[in-house]
């Protein structure tokens, strides 16, 4: 099949550079914790928050789920609940 003359073949390749984070911080863990704090503040039960992390349609929480696993999220939920009580 003839290549599409109108589409730049490199369009879908990552051409950007990584913007580094702070070396002494775990930004992804901080993001996960922030989501848990916020959704708890909205009175979401733990099971629903965990379901949000499991759902790939919510890319940011699901990214943490993929990278760190369910046990990590469950533990974080427990720790945030404990620190708020």
């Amino acid at each position: 099949m003839e290549a599409d003359k109108f589409e730049d073949p490199t369009d879908f390749e990552l051409t950007h550079h990584v913007v580094p984070g702070d070396p002494d911080r775990d930004h992804i863990a901080e993001m996960a914790e922030a989501y848990i704090v916020e959704f708890k503040r909205m009175r979401w039960p733990d099971e629903e928050i965990l379901a949000m992390f499991r759902n790939p349609n919510y890319a940011a929480p699901h990214f943490v789920y993929q990278e760190r696993g369910e046990e990590y999220i469950a533990d974080l939920l427990h720790r945030v609940s404990y620190s708020q009580s």
Binding site: E13, H16, G21, D22, A34, E38, R41, N55, P56, P61
Partner: protein
């Protein structure tokens, strides 16, 4: 050029028109810490205003993933590059009226005069290419198409490039700036700022599609409709703000994007009314900050910055108030916690509020009660003799 006072810069600046503030200024606060990019706001706007022919590229509301995303692509990187490196704010000049200190740099209006004199530009700007306008969320982590089950959920999740070091979602509408660059740029005088609420509108009957507004708005929120050959932009759902929606019988309502937000990240109010919860967040608690205040347009959509992102990046995006905002937001006092509970609590516009011991009460335009929300739910531990199963 006349001089106007920009409180976000803490100084006077040049603007093509005399400074004249509206009776009330529309404003909103978006809490980035809660946004999961579900795009409900985007679709609420699209299904209300931009659903017909020629509006495929009209994303008056969009949610983009930082740092890679942007609609049009690279809008902020390009505006920052045009402006060049700036010296920033002198924090020692901070006062009640100028909370971030005094800006020592050049705004886009001043840069147009010094660097683009004779070009006809009132604010230094550029026209995005067709390619940059082609799709919101290009290169971002939100879209994937491989279906593995009937509900469309995949095993592997996102497929497009991700910035894995850190990222956050930035929801954007028109900032309804106090000193709009689009208004300054329009050679037809087709753009105006309403004296009653500060909402910035394009008069569709006057617009001839010259795209000067598209070129000179640094936020790239006026959009050229290739079908109608004129430009359009977010209208802040002004019929709802005016209270003409029959649902509330004359009571003003929040915009569709704000009312529809399932993550309750948005709150609408008035920036210049000390009774407004938005005023408290921006001017008293100082947890909500303007987007790229260095551009000089005095934008009126404010953001609570994400706690997890690198501070240098956030300072560039939201100015020098970032550190204070994050510290204060991370340890909210009782009043701030109360105001935060008003987010997404009602479709009606909250004009004033009262924080009590256990709840926050929001009042409407006629000082009537519109919402009552508990601040913190009590923790109740069941006695051990009962089965504790969740």
């Amino acid at each position: 050029m006349p001089k106007v006072f920009n409180w976000q810069l803490g100084r006077e600046m040049e603007y093509p028109y005399e400074g004249k503030r509206p009776e009330r200024q529309f404003a909103a606060v978006f809490n980035i810490n809660r946004c999961i990019a579900c795009q409900t706001c985007t679709m609420a706007c699209k299904s209300t205003w931009t659903y017909s022919k020629g509006q495929e590229a009209m994303w008056w509301n969009n949610v983009e993933t930082k740092p890679y995303g942007g609609y049009p692509q690279h809008w902020d990187v390009k505006a920052l590059e045009l402006l060049g490196e700036q010296p920033g704010w002198d924090a020692s000049r901070a006062s009640e009226q100028t909370p971030y200190g005094e800006d020592r740099g050049e705004t886009l209006f001043e840069a147009a005069k010094t660097r683009a004199n004779g070009s006809g530009q009132q604010a230094l700007g550029y026209l995005p290419t067709e390619k940059e306008w082609r799709s919101p969320n290009f290169y971002e982590d939100t879209a994937f198409s491989k279906l593995t089950s009937k509900d469309g959920i995949t095993e592997t999740g996102t497929q497009l490039p991700e910035h894995k070091a850190w990222f956050f979602y930035l929801a954007r509408i028109c900032n309804h700036c106090t000193y709009p660059a689009c208004l300054a740029a329009c050679p037809r005088g087709a753009i105006y700022k309403r004296p009653e609420d500060g909402i910035v509108l394009i008069d569709q009957s006057q617009c001839r599609g010259y795209r000067k507004c598209v070129e000179q708005c640094p936020y790239k929120k006026p959009m050229f409709n290739a079908e109608t050959r004129i430009s359009e932009k977010c209208i802040a759902c002004y019929p709802r703000v005016e209270g003409t929606d029959p649902l509330t019988e004359g009571d003003p309502m929040a915009t569709r994007c704000i009312a529809a937000c399932v993550g309750k990240i948005r709150l609408q109010g008035w920036i210049d009314d000390p009774q407004s919860p938005v005023y408290h967040l921006v001017k008293v608690a100082k947890v909500a900050l303007p987007l790229y205040p260095q551009f000089g347009t005095e934008p009126n959509v404010y953001y609570i910055p994400p706690r997890w992102a690198p501070r240098g990046y956030l300072r560039q995006m939201f100015g020098p108030g970032v550190d204070h905002a994050i510290e204060r937001y991370s340890k909210p006092d009782h009043e701030l916690l109360g105001v935060l509970q008003l987010f997404g609590s009602t479709q009606r516009l909250v004009y004033s509020y009262k924080v009590e011991k256990d709840e926050v009460i929001g009042y409407g335009k006629k000082n009537q009660l519109v919402v009552r929300v508990p601040i913190e739910d009590p923790v109740i531990v069941r006695p051990e003799k009962h089965l504790n199963v969740t």
